[in-house]
Subunit: 332 residues, 2 copies
């Protein structure tokens, strides 16, 4: 029985099988790095597990988002590609679309909320995309995006609710599963669910004995509540430091997560920031709060993972650094 | 003509030849990582060179200091080892001595200045060493260390002015030279000169066409001034954010540096902190200010390095993180 034959999978995802994940990985190979896997004795000891960190903070553009964006952009037909692409993003997906479009030699438009950080805006423009600043909230953003698409005729690439994007995100777990044998668990953060559903599909197809977990901020716990209720309950006003996890699940990602994800562990912003600081200090790598949520969940529920071999997808490393504590006069 | 026959080398370093560096690397292999080499397109473009970063921030204990400390501790005879070891350190060398002593199963004492950060103190105690807090300045520290040595009969291991330590530090450049062929330049930061003299000796022995540069903070530029004057001019009151570079050269390191180092480039604390921030942001790795000094020098004098293949030793990643900028209320 193939994955698609098990039912419950949205029609748009039924072609997302073994061959399609392998094809996606080949499709993005020219642009995306095969990121390294790191280990950390301190965290292993503390949790009593063997952790394998898939370092998507070292991915080009600084996050896993490049995988999905590149797969989507490189999947376009010649005619579609000639039109260009557009998306809405406050950061990582926008940079990923911009770089993928540049690599393909097509134009890209990124609608950004006004509050997006100058650093992220500069990164997207640095890759040659046109940034369209948009004040207001989600309704205004959607209207502006629709206006851009209508005016320019470009192809819209959704940040997560898109089969090509999900297949691209699945390549991170695909690589991890093949580099580290006999994993018992995979854990990712969850926002819109692109990474989580891609990870869950890759595991279901290539290593079905792996249990899938996700980490979600208390202030944006729609996935936790949706799984509990058995229906999509979008979060109203997300409040979390993990800016990549403020979005709610979509119509494609929710059914996959409902079917394949074992448990969602909710963590507070304090727990996320503490885990982030500890990753920086101990592993000497820069990860963003969204990425640290996964370690925060492992530390919080360590008993669940004791004795297990756990793959952790560190989703990205794009942070605005505040170094104001440095350079203070030496007290000696 | 062997290296030692060229003259000008202090007697204590005359045995530091090709065989001894290879032996040192074998001696420390059970404890020290062969650290990865990273590249960064952004910095390559900006400087117009090919940079190869030797990531000693990923070394055990978080800095290259482990190499020298392990080589010294593992070089002791059975009788010497039975006595234990002692050193003075405000951080990285102390942690390195503590871990090396634990690995050999011998006791270690680390005299620390009172102003040493609690994090560094905890790390040293975590490795099982006895920390002796010592108020006052260098005269008091020396007296306290002498007292400890007299009382306990342990062997003193100087942070840099020791042939075994210098041979250990040489193994970082040894690895880099063998992993990355045809380097034109090697650059390290310089404080007491252990890393720099070890690097210079490794290059002189294994790849003599490589030019050696060093980066030094304006506020502790004794190496720059000593090279210019042709004699050791210790810095009086070092003031720099790069806490690993506040020390002055020693009687063993100065002659090696005088003989083999092409140029010392001085950088300001602002340039160091800017380079550090950019390494964190672009490479997604955590390095300490001392390590960032080398990139600061490359950025400052980029014309010197244009078109060259440059090996950069990122000396360490031990920082006290200030994350006070995180978790602020979301403005949206």
């Amino acid at each position: 029985m193939t994955h698609a034959q098990r039912g419950l999978v949205p029609a748009a995802l039924q072609r997302l099988d073994k061959a399609e994940i392998i094809r996606s990985r080949e499709r993005i190979a020219e642009l995306a790095h095969t990121t390294p896997v790191m280990t950390c004795q301190t965290f292993d000891r503390e949790i009593g597990a063997e952790l394998f960190f898939k370092c998507e903070n070292f991915q080009r553009t600084g996050s896993f988002k490049l995988r999905g964006a590149a797969n989507a952009v490189f999947s376009l037909t010649h005619e579609e590609g000639a039109k260009g692409v557009a998306t809405f993003s406050s950061g990582n997906h926008g940079a990923a679309i911009a770089l993928a479009a540049r690599a393909r030699g097509i134009r890209a438009f990124v609608v950004m909320p006004e509050r997006a950080t100058p650093v992220k805006r500069a990164a997207i423009e640095g890759y040659g995309a046109t940034v369209i600043d948009c004040p207001g909230g989600p309704p205004e953003h959607e209207r502006e995006l629709a206006r851009v698409i209508e005016k320019t005729g470009v192809i819209y690439i959704h940040p997560f609710n898109d089969a090509r994007v999900i297949a691209g995100q699945a390549t991170a777990a695909f690589e991890l599963i093949h580099e580290v044998p006999n994993l018992d668990v995979l854990i990712t953060p969850v926002g819109g669910g692109g990474l989580l559903s891609g990870t869950a599909l890759a595991a279901a197809i290539f290593a079905p004995r792996i249990k899938i977990f996700a980490a979600e901020p208390d202030g944006a716990n729609d996935a936790y509540r949706s799984l509990k209720a058995g229906k999509l309950i979008p979060v109203g006003n997300a409040t979390t430091v993990a800016d990549g996890l403020r979005t709610s699940l979509g119509s494609l990602t929710f059914p996959v997560i409902r079917r394949h994800v074992h448990k969602i562990i909710c963590v507070s912003d304090t727990e996320i920031l503490d885990a982030m600081r500890r990753i920086w200090e101990r592993m000497k790598i820069v990860v963003e709060p969204s990425a640290a949520a996964a370690l925060a969940a492992l530390l919080k529920k360590s008993a669940v993972f004791a004795g297990k071999r756990v793959g952790v997808i560190l989703s990205g490393g794009n942070v605005d650094l505040n170094l104001s504590g440095y350079g203070a006069p030496d007290p000696a």
